[in-house]
Symmetry: C2
Subunit: 234 residues, 2 copies
């Protein structure tokens, strides 16, 4: 709900509808598949804790992670309309998730138009993030891609209370990072090294600290506008 309240006023009636949803809880271990590629789910996954990613695996074994999801993200809400998954969702760390039946979300579309538009918004924000990802892969250097990823993660985590004081956890191996950035593991390692050399971030274990956010944002071409963190009528 924090993701909604950061973007529009949530009337009590709508908040109550969300509270009243029947949730099926499920835990996942690191590496486990949360939603299978090609499946036809009857419920959508809301991530409560942990880090997950959308994943496409090619026949030759190469993997592309197209998006990163954190606690509070309604991960596969678009499954409601798409019906068939065109990708999988995988747990990058141990995850706690809850599932909401599509039937109940459909009921929201019948009874709560404004709340419907807010849920719709969540999917269009995901799309905006995806669009940004495409430009990153196409026209940004690896260093910019990585810097941009860190900026985005900080802003998104901060919005739901998972980051503060320019610092957050990013518990992923460089192999995972490589699959996100579309690079080889070796090159990813060199880019991480380069980024550290700029002195803009400290990055030990899985703790990232951004020393000069405005400068990192400038260097990476990051501008938070596409995340739609602005409370206004939708």
């Amino acid at each position: 709900m924090a993701n909604l309240r950061r973007r529009d006023v949530l009337p009590t009636g709508e908040a109550e509808m969300l509270e009243a949803l029947h949730l099926r809880k499920a835990d996942f271990a690191k590496g486990e598949e949360i939603v299978a590629d090609g499946s036809r789910p009857h419920s959508s996954c809301l991530l409560e804790e942990g880090l997950a990613a959308r994943s496409v695996v090619r026949a030759n074994g190469s993997r592309q992670l197209t998006a990163l999801h954190i606690g509070g993200d309604f991960v596969d809400l678009h499954g409601l309309t798409l019906r068939e998954m065109d990708h999988g969702v995988v747990a990058l760390t141990a995850c706690k998730a809850v599932f909401v039946r599509h039937e109940e979300i459909r009921t929201i579309t019948e009874r709560a138009p404004h709340l419907t538009r807010l849920l719709w918004l969540l999917t269009t924000v995901d799309a905006a993030i995806q669009r940004r990802m495409t430009t990153l892969m196409g026209r940004h250097t690896p260093l910019e891609r990585l810097g941009h990823l860190l900026c985005e993660m900080y802003v998104r985590k901060e919005a739901v209370g998972l980051a503060q004081e320019q610092q957050f956890k990013l518990p992923v191996s460089q192999a995972v990072l490589a699959d996100l950035l579309g690079l080889s593991v070796v090159h990813t390692n060199r880019i991480v090294k380069d980024l550290r050399a700029t002195g803009l971030v400290s990055w030990h274990q899985h703790n990232v600290r951004i020393h000069d956010f405005p400068k990192l944002a400038r260097v990476s071409g990051f501008d938070a506008a596409y995340l739609s963190f602005r409370c206004e009528p939708r």
Copy 2:
């Protein structure tokens, strides 16, 4: 409407609601901006004729086209929820477009839940295409990217009656293609040459003919499932 009917049954009442929308018509010349990056539109653009693209231009002048749109596409429907454009829309050829006021679409969300879900679907399909684009940029060779683009264009054009007999028009220069594929113009030219050399497509002037669609699809890793061209309850 063809885009909706290819994906679910459209009851007469809903079709009538769409017919009743007030449309503002506008024509655009090749290269003209249809929607400005960073603007806050109060209406959404439905492309009737021509080819348009979502475009992000960087400070250094490099351009990334993140999506291609053809006649029948509801180009910036997501603007309804996002409010502020995180990219521009540009006419790649002369275009005819109509604009629908957000106010009227919001009325649809108040009165026609199923139609709302279908409009929502259009935006999630766009997102799925965008997701595919990301994997293309990240883990596919330039030849695969180009082949994939041709397969997708054929299937999408065929769905709205703009292609038949494995043949369609793609009236774009190789510079535009380069901005779509995230390559330099020179390299794009070499990839087009390579693709022609495979004998899988003829490509003269702006006419593309795919001689062996299944093989081109196999070579490029194309699978139309992500386009959700399947008529089922949504």
